[in-house]
């Protein structure tokens, strides 16, 4: 239970650990991108968690880094192939950011600090809750940016026009940094120093 709470809230990879900021800033231009990226990363977290926890007794400390990279890269490639085959729409939207899950430090951090030291079931739970936490964080930033930046919500064809003035800067990377900073400040204001 504490694993789930840690992954989603207490140690949310983006908002509390400040990990995986590159995708968090880059793909959060819209809600659908944010959710798509979050789900893809969750799959990678779970799949690599399973494999690493199974193999953890065979992989010595000395080769764990290259072994993890190979495992994570393979999982990401397999998932991107399946995405291209079965959800081509999402694949074409996420584009370059799918292969970049390989270098998402959340995946690596969970592999090193959790899956390498735990059995399969806890590793799956950990991967899942961190993935959900990551998705949640992307969703928060993505929805704020989409609403302020474009003045409407477009979620897979369901368009809700809020008739707000579109402030273009929030769609740009600089807007992502501003929103990220504001969300972190708000978090600190509400929960204080963790």
């Amino acid at each position: 239970m504490s694993i789930v709470k840690d992954g989603i809230l207490k140690k949310n990879p983006v908002f509390f650990m400040l990990l995986g900021l590159c995708p968090a800033l880059a793909v959060t231009t819209s809600i659908e991108n944010a959710i798509g990226m979050g789900i893809a990363t969750t799959f990678v977290l779970v799949a690599s968690g399973i494999i690493i926890s199974i193999l953890r007794n065979f992989i010595s400390e000395k080769i764990r880094i290259p072994a993890f990279i190979v495992i994570i890269a393979t999982m990401v490639t397999i998932i991107s192939l399946f995405m291209e085959a079965y959800i081509p729409l999402l694949y074409s939207q996420l584009g370059i950011y799918v292969p970049l899950i390989v270098v998402n430090c959340i995946v690596f951090a969970r592999a090193l600090s959790f899956a390498y030291k735990n059995k399969i079931i806890p590793s799956v739970v950990d991967g899942l809750s961190n993935g959900v936490g990551f998705t949640l964080a992307l969703f928060v930033i993505g929805s704020i940016r989409e609403i302020i930046g474009t003045g409407k919500i477009d979620f897979y064809g369901i368009v809700i026009n809020l008739h707000l003035p579109a402030i273009g800067i929030f769609i740009f990377p600089s807007g992502a940094l501003l929103i990220m900073g504001l969300v972190l400040a708000l978090k600190k204001h509400i929960w204080g120093e963790m």
């Binding site: 000395k62 190979v70 490639t77 474009t150």
Partner: protein, 161 residues
């Protein structure tokens, strides 16, 4: 010495096994991916030519057929925009006038370069031949590089058919 051999062989084994997984996933998804790409193309062809029902590849463009009769061409092309490769599908009739232009994929700046996907820009191409496109289709203010790339891609494809 013994340890290094052990570690190397374990790493080697992991890579071999994962490589097998990867290649089987590739082979498993390959037909589906190709089918998707082809479907996407036929869908675009139908948007451009309402009566289109078949597409046959010829050199580096496609001929569009309706009831076995050739009604035009579609050409897939791409050019480098401001921040991405802009992929376009261009429909051209037998007189080499443009039937329509569709954007297949682009990752231009959202809200600025992405205006090349707007109907107000793409509709300017319709019914024009090469000279008219060069003269009459203007770039989008604020998105000059993206829209210029799209216009150039159209011009080049018109020359190639």
């Amino acid at each position: 010495m013994k340890e290094i051999l052990k570690n190397t062989s374990i790493l080697f084994l992991i890579i071999i096994v994962l490589g097998i997984f990867l290649s089987s996933a590739y082979n498993f998804t390959k037909p589906k991916i190709e089918e998707n790409q082809n479907n996407e193309l036929i869908k675009k062809a139908k948007e451009l030519f309402l009566s289109a029902d078949n597409v046959i590849k010829k050199n580096d463009y496609y001929e569009v057929f309706s009831n076995e009769k050739k009604i035009g061409y579609i050409k897939q092309t791409s050019s480098l925009g401001y921040s991405s490769e802009i992929k376009l599908v261009i429909g051209i009739d037998l007189d080499k006038n443009i039937v329509g232009v569709k954007v297949l994929s682009q990752q231009e700046t959202p809200g600025i370069g992405s205006k090349i996907m707007d109907e107000s820009f793409l509709s300017k191409f319709i019914g024009k031949d090469k000279n008219k496109v060069a003269e009459e289709v203007d770039t989008i203010t604020g998105a000059t590089i993206s829209s210029r790339a799209a216009i150039n891609a159209v011009l080049i494809s018109l020359e190639e058919i």
